[in-house]
Amino acid sequence: MSALAQRLAGFLHQPGFQAAVPVLILLLIGFFGPLVLVAVFSFMPARSFKLDGGPTLENYRFAFEQSYYLSLLRSFAFAAGTVAVLALVCYPVALGMAKLFGRYAGVLTLVMVLPLFVSENVRLFGWVLFLLKGGGVLAGAAKAVFGIELADMLYSNSATLMGLAYVYLPFMLFPMVLGLSMVSRDVVEAASDLGASRWQIMREIELPLALPGLLIGGLLTFVLSLGSLTESKVLGGSKVIMIAADIESAFTYGQNWPLGSALSVLLLVLAGGLVLVVLSKLNLDAILKRR
């Protein structure tokens, strides 16, 4: 047996590898397989359903000529906006959960996790009912109580942004709490005793020490809202079209797999690159063990 074969056999006999096999098989046939297929299809001639055409870049050219890149840019803008809004909204709450609420933090966590288990569709539909023009809960209440007519709020960019921020809020909040709870009280006290202001403490101690949590939260929020579909469809209506909606219509109504594949690849390469860069900087053992 050659040295290489011996090393391979040694690798395969590790108990850890053997325990990982079932999940790895699932990922192989359910995740990497489909992704490779989509990647290959993106180089096939338009509207083909088989992989026998010659490799071509025509789908990518088409994507840029037909202003699909606008949806891609719009999705990036929405994703960046969602991260920015959530960072500002969640930071004080995360600080409170990590350092202030003490024994209530557990209950509060539960209260904030629960909506996550309610189907996204139900919650988005609830926002439609709330924001609906004329007879919606908000407009109806404003009219009945104050006698004022509210302007239409649904089917706009701001409604979509709010929907995204709403749905992905826990994905930002909880990693942030995890990150901020890694900041030791002693370090903050020491800085404070040495005369640091609240702003200095935040900028020079809290943010750097909590960075792993903040990065994970920001990354999750960014990637998930980048590829989101229902938020813009339900709250943005036909006015707000994001890249996932373009991909969907290329695959389904358009019956143009290569175009849908090319758009997916563009989205995934940009998002995946970001994920890999950030993940490679994190030590997962250290983050998860803290709990």
């Binding site: 297929l37 004080p92 569709n121 539909f125 609830g126 809960v137 109806g140 990637v223 229902t230 996932a244």
Partner: protein
């Protein structure tokens, strides 16, 4: 001296947190509120409260079918996820092996992945392989996203698990199966229950993966979406409320189970 010294700052944080919680629950409350509205076209405020739509939902064969499919998918996903997560969690956190860091990162990829795109990629994959989409393929699609999450949940428990107990059992002559049944499983059971709860609830409410992979079958979240986009009926808020009640029931049952399991061991 505390991290947040000023009482005003503390109070502001508390108020802001309360606002955020209200924000999280506004749409859910709206759905429940509207589900009691009698009229065909919704307009707030209203005074004609009724339970009619609930009665219709329970007696309709179509809605029973929808709930049955959702339940089947979530049940099978839970069972398979727990098994995969047990071994996956051991590989993630218990064993020190070459390739573990890569495995940890690979496992996170499906979680950090836009679900709608994953659903579409799976649709193309299944169609290309000639598999007819049905509720079974939806189970497979859910697993790709949910099994890694369940594995993470179990891993957190595994990190706190003392593997020396296993060594001791082996030294006393226990077989591999005995160690698994008598040592590993009982020690990890709270993590497995939480992992199973996550799996069930995430599958029960999932839309983007189901939408592209169930074929002719339909789950409740899918039905809600198609009715929201076109063909609204007053049944939509009722079904929405029912799916929330279902999730809450499972959550409460799981919570009670965890508390009940902890009691005899913890004393």
């Amino acid at each position: 001296m505390d991290i947040i010294a000023k009482p005003l700052a503390r109070r502001l944080i508390a108020v802001w947190t309360a606002c955020l919680i209200a924000f999280l629950y506004i749409p859910i409350v709206c759905v429940f509120l509207v589900s009691f509205h009698k009229g065909r076209y919704f307009s707030f405020p209203f005074d004609d409260f009724t339970f009619d739509w609930y009665g219709k939902a329970f007696s309709s064969l179509q809605t029973q079918e929808l709930f049955l499919i959702s339940l089947k998918v979530a049940g099978v996903v839970t069972a398979i996820s727990v098994v995969l997560a047990l071994f996956g969690g051991l590989a993630f956190a218990r064993f020190n092996w070459r390739g573990r860091t890569i495995f940890q990162h690979l496992l996170l990829l499906p979680i950090f992945f836009p679900q709608a795109v994953l659903g579409l990629a799976l649709l193309i994959w299944l169609t290309y392989l000639g598999v007819l989409p049905s509720w079974q393929t939806a189970v497979f699609a859910h697993l790709v996203w949910i099994a890694p999450i369940a594995t993470l949940v179990v891993s957190i428990q595994v990190y706190g698990y003392d593997a020396a107990q296993e060594e001791a059992a082996y030294d006393l002559g226990a077989t591999r199966l005995q160690v698994l049944r008598e040592i590993t499983l009982p020690a990890l059971s709270p993590g497995l229950v939480s992992g199973g709860l996550f799996a069930f609830l995430l599958s029960w409410g999932n839309f983007p993966l189901s939408f592209f992979t169930t074929g002719a079958d339909s789950t409740v979240p899918e039905w809600l979406y198609t009715r929201m986009v076109a063909g609204y009926t007053p049944m939509v808020p009722t079904m929405g409320a029912l799916i929330v009640v279902g999730a809450a029931a499972v959550l409460v049952a799981g919570y009670i189970f965890i508390v009940w399991r902890r009691r005899p061991i913890g004393g």
